[in-house]
């Protein structure tokens, strides 16, 4: 199911059928998109991520992953570090697993190594820092910084990310953990509970329905 299909389906459900009476109405697609994003993040974290962790099978997150083959690498002169902007908003998972993979653009065999943001000090004191020349990366908010091992000749990297729902294109496929397709509607309804009712008048007065 594409993102457009999912929003349309939800709009259809909210317009009638078994939808709770207090939720029935018309919502702007952007509002629905944000509510679906909250629910999808929740499902990825509590269902897909936990299952992957439990089974030690991180391939379970593959279905939610999208590849960005050329993300530009920039140089931060103040910090003397190479970095790149994370091109989209991603699902935040433990150990930054929303960023699944970073490598050279055309050589996935050289996967960059993940580091915790504040562990540079530890690893730079150990043998590993000079034994392995693979670039390391760590995340800082919406940026990814690289270690000194990244060659200055690299101007772009390949990234595999788990995009947040709002970052998907209209025609992108939306993955929902199996058997949770029905739940996504229930959870969106829950999320919509307490929303101000649809305004019927055009008087810019919030006290008037």
């Amino acid at each position: 199911m594409t993102k457009r299909n999912l929003i349309d389906l939800l709009k259809h459900r909210l317009a009638g059928g078994d939808c709770p009476q207090e939720l029935k109405g018309k919502y702007h697609p952007k509002i629905l998109e944000k509510h679906i994003e909250i629910v999808q993040n929740y499902l990825i974290k509590t269902v897909a991520y936990r299952e992957a962790e439990k089974q030690n099978d991180w391939g379970l997150l593959d279905a939610y992953t999208k590849t960005y083959p050329n993300v530009a690498v920039n140089f931060d002169e103040e910090r003397n570090e190479y970095y790149c902007d994370i091109p989209i908003s991603i699902v935040d998972l433990p150990q930054n697993r929303g960023i699944r993979f970073i490598s050279d653009r055309q050589n996935q065999a050289v996967q960059y190594i993940y580091r915790d943001n504040n562990s540079v000090d530890i690893f730079s004191n150990l043998d590993i820092d000079r034994v392995s020349t693979k670039p390391r990366w760590y995340r800082e908010s919406d940026k990814v910084f690289f270690s000194r091992h990244l060659s200055s000749l690299i101007n772009g990297v390949l990234m595999k990310l788990i995009p947040a729902f709002s970052s998907l294109e209209d025609n992108d496929e939306v993955s929902i953990p199996s058997a949770y397709a029905k739940s996504i509607f229930d959870l969106v309804f829950q999320s919509l509970m307490g929303m101000p009712p649809e305004k019927m008048s055009n008087d810019n007065n919030s006290n008037v329905p």
Binding site: V110, Q111, R115, I128, R130, K134
Partner: protein
Amino acid sequence: MNGSNQNTQNAAYVDMEYVASQVRLRMNLDNRWHEKILQFVIDGFAELNLNDTIPNVTTAELTVDSTNIVDFPRDYVEYISIGVRFGGRYIPLVLNTNIVLPTISSCGEIEREIFTGTNGAFDDKTRDGYFNPDYRSYTVGGAFSDAYYRIDHKGGRIIFLTENFTGLEVILQYKSLGISDQTCIPRASIPALRAYVQWTLNNNDRTLSETRIETSRREWIRERNKLYAVNHALTSEEIMDIMRTHTHRGLKG
């Protein structure tokens, strides 16, 4: 080591990345663990080298500085022989524990003296016109007796007692820790390294039972001993020598 993926396939020797990848594959660990696992592999390999499970002898050519001192290589554990190349031959130098080590002044700054001269009283046949009773010809030894050295373990360097050694290449044969970006690991040692990493991880996992941790510790020791036995196995000639040690030919009458 970035190109290791191609170089290590089907090779008798592999690199650290190869071992770390194999451990991750066996234990089903993803990339988030790679740096930690690689450091554990390095620790395990250093451990195997330190206790001589993997014999690792390396040769380095070191340049003597203006104060007749050379620093140890980073991976130095213990020296085997120190010498110079002379006329196409390797000439070992002589250990002299009477050489005074350089003093260390405040804040670790080393006050370097220039060490020159000879072995003093022992080298002169006569003293004040009389025979020198301290003279011992056998103190000269079989090696190159015009230059002596002393190991300064604390300072991590070798001090030479001689003249005109500045800029000379000294050949140091030493037991190495074996850790560098060029390190080659024999495939036979992979099971031991894998067991070491497994034990290290289990040892720090508070969710595991004592039995499980102990099992992995024993597995590590067993693999280490197996590797030691492989690397120190006697050759057939050595075995025959041992068998014949007590065999003597009788007198024929």
